[in-house]
């Protein structure tokens, strides 16, 4: 009699499965249609890094100390700074970063002594050539401010 029982039990399990997919047919759809609707990123999202603009000085606070340059695992940051006059500290003039090799690990943001680096919520990082990825953050901050 196991023969008939198998057929009945087996058939019933198939119908159970079809009930699940049948119910799923009427469940609300979860797709977000990307090009038209954008998901807003979470506050902690690690997009590529940017220079923070401090309200009191009106510009970035980077003193070109090179900590982030040393701490970066893939070595993608190059910082150049210049001393305005003898006694005062340096101010960064160029902050070049190569996003194509940056692994977004966030060590530079953490290790920056003046906390002038922050994550952007930019997630469309594709460019049409490798050199689009090499960006000078100071220049970008200048034209984003103007």
């Amino acid at each position: 009699m196991g023969y008939w029982k198998d057929i009945v039990v087996g058939g019933w399990s198939l119908i159970e499965g079809m009930k699940v997919t049948g119910r799923a047919l009427f469940k609300p759809v979860v797709t977000v249609q990307y090009p038209r609707k954008h998901l807003e990123m979470s506050p902690a999202y690690r997009g590529h890094i940017e220079l923070k603009i401090f309200p009191e000085t009106g510009t970035h606070g980077c003193i070109a100390c090179g900590t982030c340059q040393r701490v970066c695992p893939s070595g993608v940051i190059k910082v150049q700074g210049v001393k305005s006059h003898a006694r005062s500290g340096k101010v960064a003039t160029h902050y070049v970063i190569d996003y194509t090799r940056c692994s977004l690990c966030g060590l530079c943001v953490e290790s920056c002594p003046t906390q002038t680096l922050k994550f952007s919520t930019e997630y469309e990082l594709a460019g049409d050539s490798r050199w689009d990825g090499v960006v000078d953050l100071v220049a970008r901050m200048e034209d984003s401010r103007s």
Binding site: L14, G17, M18, T21, A24, K27, P28, V29, V30
Partner: protein, 329 residues
Amino acid sequence: MMEAAATSGAYWLRLIIGLVIVLIFSQLNALFLVWLERKVAGHIQVRLGPMEVGPHGLLQTIVDGIKLVGKELITPARADRILFVIAPVLVFTPVLVAFLVLPFGPDLIIRDMNVGLLLIFAFSTFSVLAILVGGWASNNKYALLGAIRSVAQAVAYEIPLLLSVMSVVLMVNSFRFSELVMAQQRVWFVFLQPVAALIYFICATAETNRAPFDIPEAESELVAGFHTEYSGMRFGLFFLAEYTNMFIVCAVATSLFFGGWHGPFGFSFKIPGVVWFLAKTYVLLYVLMWFRWTFPRVRFDQLMNFSWKVLIPLSMLNLVITALVLKLI
């Protein structure tokens, strides 16, 4: 009954118009079915399915068709060139012939032959042959495996398919579709022959290489089974043939078991027969799609066991019981 004299001009005119309508209908239907399947699959999987081209993606299949026609037809290096080219044609044309005898409506049968049902089953085995030729000729181990599997699968489901249909034919003792449908005026055969209907439907899914029995073109095992090496419209032909085949199988199921163009239990609510026929066929098509997006794939030796140990004995038993019952009444 409805035919004009065998050789008069009206007869030929009727045949040609019928064939043209059938060709157009089968192509549009195939395109619609592909779109329907993708939408049904989408919503079953809690996603949208095609939405980009046309309202709710209606033009998606047409655009896909144009893309496929535009694609380059690649023939593998040491492939058997002639067989490789013939296979898609061989799989597509026999399927069209089956439309000749399908009972769309009381007077809408193009050629109501007295061997209608036999003709359909005769031409349906062509698709297995074409898959074998296609798989063998594309000089690719995966395609070869897919082709061998399709032959093994054909052996497994052909016999129960015919046995289950025989029990219906036995009740009507004719292969003519119009008589088969007329006999179901008051009560559909699905209520008299539930087991035969179930076995027929299971074997129908196996015949169209779908749902749990899509062993010849098992995406996750054999990359793409027999049509691994096909590209462009050759692949398109295989694809369209599968969906047209699906329609035919469901049309035959409707006319054999669900009363063709009759409404339920004789009341047809003044809805024309064709609408009844197409409605029932599309419900069955939906069930086929439902199978595909629910069940995992059966291993081909399990299919053989299932067929030889369950389907064939059951359909034979059903046939014997039908014969006994008919004898006694």
